[in-house]
Amino acid sequence: MTTKSPEQIYDELLVLKSQQGSKDAFSELVERWQKRLWHYALQMTRSESAAWDVVQETWVAIIKGLSKLQDATLFSCWTFIILNNKCADWVRKQQLQSQLNSRLATQTQNYADKEQGSNEKTESLEAAIEKLPTDQRALLSLRYQQNFDISEIAEILAIPEGTVKSRLHRTLAELREIMGANRNG
């Protein structure tokens, strides 16, 4: 059995209170989760405004389905499943639109926040991550940004655990290769 942090347990408590109809608990839950959801949506959509839209749509879906959630411990996975689906919908819609109008592709906002004083290593890694396909970026974000374990990622992305492991391994190998090439070149 994995031990949960007090933060995780507190989140579950907030979910239960929200299910019981507490407005304050739900408000706190939104406040605590907003940033996590937005960062993941940003990784997937690469656009700050789109990330906000996707997060809003996710919250609307959460409000609709919260009373049907049987187990509060599943909230984080359930939320990321919804978010992942919303992001996938957005990406699909964008792809469709860009097929119709190729000019739209050039308008895609660059999401990377170039902080002053950031070191070369993280910058080149940032560029390398940006080049990765959406599913690999999702995997990295869920593992290293949202700190989900392999089984949770498998549930969110609806793929077997073995596939998660192999994809993660492949993605890290690709990044290592890109980083190595950058260093040598």
């Binding site: 347990i9 408590l13 939104v30 940033k35 919250w59 980083m179």
Partner: protein, 129 residues
């Protein structure tokens, strides 16, 4: 976790500027939506109970009229069945609410206990051996 994985963590945490103002506006909107949904559920429940109450009252009046004035047995049975069904409806919706509320209450207590244990675990220094 190797060096690359640590760098990935740092890099991912750097991306994007989280707009706290926008987050606050969105939070307010979402909470309003949540409140709206709660109100809707409350309204539907009260409407159901009100309609049920009217049906029960109507059924009882019908039952009394048939019992004391018209003495129509068939109509009396129909009125009694209507009253029973409507009454069961009220009982069931109250029971459902009570069961759900008790379930959440118990789960909340359990979570609070879990939270206290987790917090105490964090405060307790590791045993010296």
């Amino acid at each position: 976790m190797d060096e690359l994985e640590k760098t990935i963590q740092v890099t991912l945490s750097r991306t994007g500027k989280f707009d706290a103002g926008k987050a606050e506006t969105l939070r307010k909107e979402i909470v309003q939506m949540f409140e709206g949904k709660l109100k809707k559920v409350k309204l539907l429940t009260w409407a159901f109970l009100l309609i049920d109450g009217i049906i029960i009252a109507g059924g009882i009046i019908g039952l009394l009229v048939n019992l004391l004035i018209t003495k129509n047995t068939n109509a009396m049975i129909i009125s009694a069945v209507v009253v029973l069904i409507a009454h069961e409806g009220t009982v069931l919706i109250k029971l459902w609410y009570w069961v759900l509320n008790t379930k959440y209450g118990v789960l909340k207590e359990l979570k609070q206990l879990q939270l206290q244990i987790a917090e105490l675990k964090g405060k307790t220094p590791p045993a010296e051996n």
